[in-house]
């Protein structure tokens, strides 16, 4: 098909807009390299005269970033490992196995897709507070703090993941019955067939969910805000949100730490775009 005459002007307009979309990121990076004098100069300074990399070193010293990063990585990795394992199990069972009440149970589990976590944060907080025999609690979940301000408290509410189950089920449903028949002929049980045939086939689903869950976990703010209270348990986003000083905001340092949290993820995204987009599209268009 030949290109239409308006393609060039529209392309230019959209390219211009896309630069405008990125402007906040440019400002973030440029500001992170300015001195406070340039930031508070009477005329707006676009590009700093001398790149002030010291801002990054100083931003890292404001707070225990090593702890925040390792907390977040730990929570992210455990959430991904556990939830992918149990989500793929459940997705396989819902798609390929026959058992009584299967469809009802699947429909019921979709409630997890509809209810946003903000709406149940109070009861979930209380459930975690009353986990038996944890954090000084007795057998009846009384007396202590349970999983409040702990890794388990940060992880447990995110493990179920109805979306993952939904995505795995969709994928497994497309796999033809012949595969199961062949597995049966080879004398494979259901569970072995899952590990030896289904898991290798579903690498793209795993990749998509890793990309989506890693981003969500790294970016999470509300739940760490609710469930943690000590500095040792802070995650990166929570730490960033509390970075501001009470009186005067140190924009250079704030933008330096924001840059450090944003840029790695953007680079990762640029290289794994396909999986992000596939996941997003799978949730929207095919769902």
């Amino acid at each position: 098909m030949p290109k239409k005459p308006f393609i060039i002007p529209v392309s230019l307009a959209m390219l211009g807009l896309s630069v405008a979309m990125l402007l906040p990121f440019f400002l973030m990076i440029l500001t992170s390299l300015k001195t406070m004098d340039e930031i508070f100069a009477p005329r707006f300074v676009w590009v700093p005269e001398r790149l002030d990399w010291a801002n990054y070193a100083e931003a890292l010293q404001r707070g225990d970033w090593g702890t925040y990063v390792s907390n977040t990585l730990y929570v992210t990795i455990v959430t991904i490992l556990v939830s992918l394992l149990i989500n793929s199990f459940a997705g396989y069972a819902f798609a390929k196995l026959n058992f009584k009440g299967r469809d009802i149970l699947f429909l019921l589990s979709l409630i997890g897709l509809m209810i946003p976590p903000q709406v149940t944060m109070i009861p979930v907080f209380l459930v975690l507070k009353h986990i038996p025999l944890a954090g000084g609690n007795d057998l009846w979940g009384q007396g202590g703090l349970g999983w409040i301000d702990s890794y388990n408290g940060l992880i447990a509410p995110y493990v179920a993941g109805s979306f993952g189950v939904f995505l795995f089920r969709q994928f497994f449903l497309q796999i033809p019955q012949e595969l199961d028949d062949a597995a049966k002929l080879d004398g494979m049980g259901r569970v072995r067939a899952f590990f030896h045939l289904y898991v290798p086939l579903s690498k793209p689903v795993f990749a998509t969910l890793v990309a989506l869950k890693a981003t969500a976990s790294w970016n999470e703010y509300t739940w760490p805000l609710v469930i943690t209270n000590s500095d040792e348990m802070k995650t990166v986003q929570l730490a960033l949100s509390m970075f501001r000083d009470e009186n005067q905001v140190q924009w250079d340092l704030l933008m330096a730490s924001t840059t450090m949290l944003v840029i790695p993820l953007l680079i990762l995204f640029a290289f794994t775009q396909k999986y992000f987009i596939e996941g997003i599209v799978a949730s929207g268009v095919k769902g």
């Binding site: 058992f99 009584k100 209810i115 946003p116 903000q118 709406v119 179920a160 569970v191 986003q237 949100s241």
Partner: protein, 308 residues
């Protein structure tokens, strides 16, 4: 005697049926869904019921007391509840309309195989991958009244700067602008995927009939893309209705409660003032709203997608 014989045949038949079902039945399925269901039950299903119970109590984390409907009665006299409801509705309506509308327009343009499509898509989608905390920080700097870029640009144009996040008249608009910037790319990506599934021959036939670009857009694109629009509206309603992070970080509901939202009220009541029961009744209002949206989805959504 006849009765016993009949009884026997029925029993035999039932047993045979059971056996054949057993052949095709995989009880291992229960074991495979068990871990998932355990977490779902404890952290999603039970909390919904628990929240309902809490909404009928007064609870400050030490003493719990059944109070019947009084939290709901108090809700009707709570001016902050009504302000937050109004803010949430305005926020949702504006953010959703703009992101869905602009999302469709930009997606249609991108679908013309423009130059630099990949780059354009990447830059529009980048804010979606960025955390709301980082986005809020960046935009607070943009909105900074005396040194931020927003006012610097306005003043260069000879327009007086605004106090943005510190002005009750502008704060909500400023937050909405930020949210649109963040969410637009998501809508575009979904719409582009939907546009690519529209059969090309519809447009070719229309072109043969002499329909121009604009008429094709209104008579083919919009009707064909209806299920996607519906999906974006339903999920967008729920998502935007739960706006919290940017509010908490950028304005903390202020100034003068001009940006407080329902979830912000829930957070404050529950985790700053420890009025757990009252906050739970606010959550029930949210649950009810989400239930209504979902019910509407089932009622009208199915019809929309079968038409497509």
């Amino acid at each position: 005697m006849a009765n016993i014989a009949l009884d026997r045949t029925i029993k035999l038949k039932a047993a045979a049926k059971k056996r054949s079902r057993k052949l095709n039945s995989d009880p291992i399925g229960y074991a495979l869904i068990l871990p998932f269901y355990l977490f779902l039950a404890v952290f999603v299903l039970f909390p919904i019921a628990y929240n309902l119970y809490l909404s009928f109590t007064n609870y400050n984390l030490s003493e719990i007391k059944w109070v019947g409907w009084s939290n709901y009665a108090a809700l009707l006299h709570d001016q902050f509840f009504f302000i937050s409801m109004k803010n949430t509705l305005v926020y949702t309506a504006v953010t959703l309309t703009v992101t869905v509308g602009l999302g469709l327009i930009f997606a249609v343009l991108l679908n013309y195989r423009l130059y630099g499509t990949k780059w354009i898509r990447l830059s529009f989608f980048s804010p979606h991958v960025t955390s709301m905390v980082a986005v809020s920080m960046i935009w607070m700097w943009i909105y900074e009244p005396s040194h931020g870029i927003a006012n610097s640009l306005l003043e260069a144009l000879g327009i007086a700067g605004k106090q943005w996040l510190y002005d009750a008249k502008w704060a909500l608009s400023a937050v909405i602008f930020t949210s649109v910037w963040k969410a637009l790319g998501y809508n575009i990506v979904i719409y582009v995927a939907g546009l690519q599934s529209i059969p090309r021959h519809l447009y070719e036939a229309a072109a043969v009939d002499g329909a121009g670009g604009l008429r094709q857009f209104f008579h083919i694109t919009i009707p064909q893309i209806k299920p996607i629009t519906f999906f974006l509206i339903v999920t967008g309603l729920i998502h935007n209705f739960n706006v919290f992070e940017q509010i908490m970080i950028m304005t903390d509901g202020g100034p003068l409660h001009s940006t407080t939202t329902l979830v912000h009220q829930i957070y404050i009541r529950a985790f700053q003032q420890f009025q757990i029961g009252y906050a739970a009744s606010l959550s029930m209002v949210m649950l009810l709203a989400i239930g209504l949206i979902t019910a509407a989805n089932f009622r009208f959504g199915g019809r929309g997608s079968t038409n497509a």
